[in-house]
Symmetry: C2
Subunit: 245 residues, 2 copies
């Protein structure tokens, strides 16, 4: 373990969600580090706003190139991802080694849900702590004025890729993240609470029976993307009250 | 709907988690309302600290008496709960009607998980909005420096009462809330990340294989309660990596 220390700071959806605990951690950092996926990476702008609000310098590391050739087979794809991951780690390490001091890694939402920062920091082998931030499912529930589960019942937090498998295993109340469009064929009698770009430019909310609102969600998703230039959405999906699928 | 408005404010584990968004909402409230379960209700002290930090008056309503006679049958028990719930609603309504203005309902953790405030506010029939707060599962993950799920996998958030049923349905990565002691017989080869009184007096953390640390957790839980006078705990429980139960 080197002398460098990292503070992993969840900042929710933006400066409005930076807790006093997170603000104090930022104030103790010498700089913050972020990867830019392009010149106008929208999440970079939010990170810059957080740093500006707390007087912390933001050091931007260009995201390493990744081989996205369509002809790659599975082994080639996994190799490309591994190379890219190693290059990103090396880029971080170069900054940490040259700057020294304490570095903030700024995480959109909360570091505990579908975010790779903690894994990366562990791979760097540096000492670190974590400050929690408002997660997207909480922001979704707040905007809709709902609780994420029925009284005494569970909430299953999962990915769009796993949705149908988890429903097949009996789950009937799911928060679905890592979406890329909403494919809800067969869920017409389920209830949905959907949101995009929560707390940011292009925010949209739709709720109702899937069969009634799925077209509205598609239009709202397109409108969010048109307004912000990007879209990140998620939803809560709940089976019919009578238990019939 | 009356002119009274309610703002449901999640304050996480205490003043250190009050977001700028929540602070702005508190500043716009004329007062905050809290139920006291007794003269030295520990969660009342945290609410008072939040109000003091933001210059909001805290109005305390004594929790109505509930018939807890051990001889009550199921019908009698449900009747006692319904009476108590109606009395609590009436007590809130009396304050809202007599004070007018805008009232903050302060919620420990986040209003979207295992909290009855939104249901109560809906029953009051007043206009309201919700400000999210840091939830206990996020605080647990942050303190342990972990992500709540394995890469691309789900996290199932449930109650201690439902734990064995949910495991029976195939869940192998669970955040368990509403605990009252930890009963983990049969989970000896599962991994646990446990915490009590997170971010407050008596905080304790234990992690490891259940079979190795279950006694340590029992002792830590007792120590947390001895130090703070109360204990609230939760844990993440994850099945063995090889898939064998």
């Amino acid at each position: 373990m080197t002398a460098t220390e990292v503070r992993v700071v969840g900042f929710g959806m933006g400066p409005q969600h930076v807790t006093p605990e997170a603000a104090a951690a930022l104030a103790e950092c010498d700089y913050a580090l972020a990867v830019a996926k392009g010149a106008d990476d929208p999440l970079l702008a939010v990170r810059q706003a957080v740093c500006d609000a707390h007087g912390v310098e933001l050091v931007v590391v260009p995201d390493p190139e990744r081989d996205r050739s369509p002809g790659l087979d599975r082994v080639g794809y996994e190799g490309a991802v591994a190379d890219w991951y190693a290059a990103r780690l090396a880029a971080y390490r170069t900054v940490l080694d040259s700057r020294g001091g304490t570095c903030a890694f700024l995480v959109w939402g909360d570091p505990s849900l579908y975010d790779g920062t903690i894994r990366i920091v562990r791979a760097l082998g540096v000492g670190f702590d974590v400050l929690p931030g408002i997660s997207a499912p909480q922001a979704l529930a707040a905007r809709h004025g709902i609780v994420l589960h029925e009284v005494g019942q569970p909430v299953h937090v999962t990915t769009a890729r796993r949705l149908r498998a988890d429903v097949g295993l009996g789950q009937r109340n799911l928060v679905v993240m890592l979406t890329s469009g909403v494919d809800l064929d067969g869920f017409e009698d389920w209830s949905i609470w959907w949101g995009a770009n929560l707390g940011g430019t292009g925010e949209r909310l739709v709720a109702g029976l899937v069969g009634d609102v799925v077209a509205e969600i598609g239009a709202a998703r397109a409108a969010a993307k048109a307004e912000a230039g990007w879209v990140m959405d998620l939803f809560l999906l709940r089976g019919p009250a009578d238990g019939a699928a």
